[in-house]
Amino acid sequence: MMEIGLNHYLVLSTILFSIGLVGVMRRKNLLMLFFATEILLNAVNIAFAAISHFYGDLTGQMFAFFVIAIAASEVAVGLGLLIVWHKRHGNIDLEHMSTMRG
């Protein structure tokens, strides 16, 4: 218990990932939803760093690095989309976003 191994990090990562999933499913405000997706990626990053550490291998850190880059780009595009939508509709609630269905 006191010896922190890889599994501890993996479990932590999983729990954070699950919290992220809760957010993804629960949030109706798109901005808040995007927060949750950030949590998903961050959760994975912990695991990558941990694996990297325990294997003494740098690939994991590389992956985490690129994940951070991806997360950053996603934020840019995601916010851009939200801004366009907000300009037209004055809200960013996904409940208002269901004109296409069936």
């Binding site: 994975v44 989309l81 366009v84 296409m100």
Partner: protein, 502 residues
Amino acid sequence: MLAPVNVSLESLNIMTLAPMLIPIIGALLILIIDISKANLDKTLYVMISLLFLLLDLGTIVDSAGIFTASGIVMGVFDMMLIDGLAILAQFIIVGASLLFIPLALTHSRFHEFSYPEFFALFLFMISGFQFMVATDNLILIFVGLETASLALYTLIAMHNRDKSFEAAVKYFTMGALAAGFFSFGSMVFYALTGSVEINQIAAVLAANNYADIGYVLIGTAFLLGSIGFKVSLVPFHTWTPDVYEGSSAALAGYMSIVPKIAAFIIAMRIFEFLIHSGVVWLEVILYVGVVVTMTASNMWALVQSDVKRMLAYSSISHAGFVMAAILIGTTQANSALFLYWILFSFTNLGAFSMLWISRQKHLPQHQRTDHSYDKFAGMIKTSPIASVIMALFMLSLAGLPPFALFWGKLYMISSAVTGGYTVLALIMALNSAIAAYYYLKLIVYMFMKEPVVGNDGHVYVINATLALKSIIGFAAVGTIFAIIAVNPLLEVITTFVYNSGY
């Protein structure tokens, strides 16, 4: 201390990057032109894009030559992997893009094409897809995928109307979730094997004889979630109809082909070694997934009232059909995948282009969606040639011989037969029959109903220009005379796939 790295330039095989770099250069060029002089006409950008895509195609041909001569080429610190799959996939990606880009030359002006950023992003996207298929490193796959996806979201949104924003947001959000899944899946495999290169993963797993099958399955489940999202397997498909409906018909047609082939390549690279290593679980899951995807989306397509949405569901069904190749996993099946997808590109792009040329800016009172079935009622009376061509695409999609897609279906079902998947073959065949209904529905509307009063047929070609017509003509000719191309295609594809070890 770290030793300095000595790398000889020859060993890098920089040429393997050429096909991907060309569109990037093109995109940058477009951005630079835009900066230096604004408000140039879209035709300029279309032509620049075309030129760069052609160059791209040339380099791909070049790498195909290298591949035939010396087999699989690794490049740039073994990051790039130019094998048969990569070459074929890039052919499809670039070829479909070549067919797509002239669709920008519409008669009416649409928002996205008026801005050079569209073309720049388009070219970036292509390079993203190219990176995605030309590597077996999960990191590069991920980065390439995101590059392409982010560009694609923007392209969808640039159509600039409510539905397209909605589509882009939906696609984006789900894409972000899928990205999470992908990274988690990669993480699990990395944790298992200490590597993010697929062949390395396969080697390590094989070496310890899949001792940690539970981990493998968790990783597979997450990767299946994200790849399933890309190729729109049920239940990860929910974005497809909405996104297709929201985006312009041309882009929807493009989306039904290019992102999916890229995703198929990834699926092929990741899943086939697992299936071949006897991961029964994956086989069962894929079996169920394929069958459910084909059947369910067919049933949903039956009840649609908008042609574009119907085609969206139909493309889900086609994707499920093709996913069967990955399940079967023989050389024949993998070749069938490419053959199918090449033939599908022709037909589906044709079909979506037909919708595109009939896209009105302002819908008449009785028409609820852009391309509702009612719009095509009695089309044979007013524009016979257009309706015949549209019917041709529909019949081809339905798998009616001797049109293009039939040969793909034939070869695909045959691969199921030879792979020992008899029931699957039957299900695939019967699904074609279900699918025939909704394709037929459009034909029924076009040929057997009376036109709406006041419809003089102009509406069907309202957007048509010579460029669009040529593309459609090209697609139609390809669809009809596919039989001529099938043999050479098949020979090339089989050699490429076989020599890549799939």
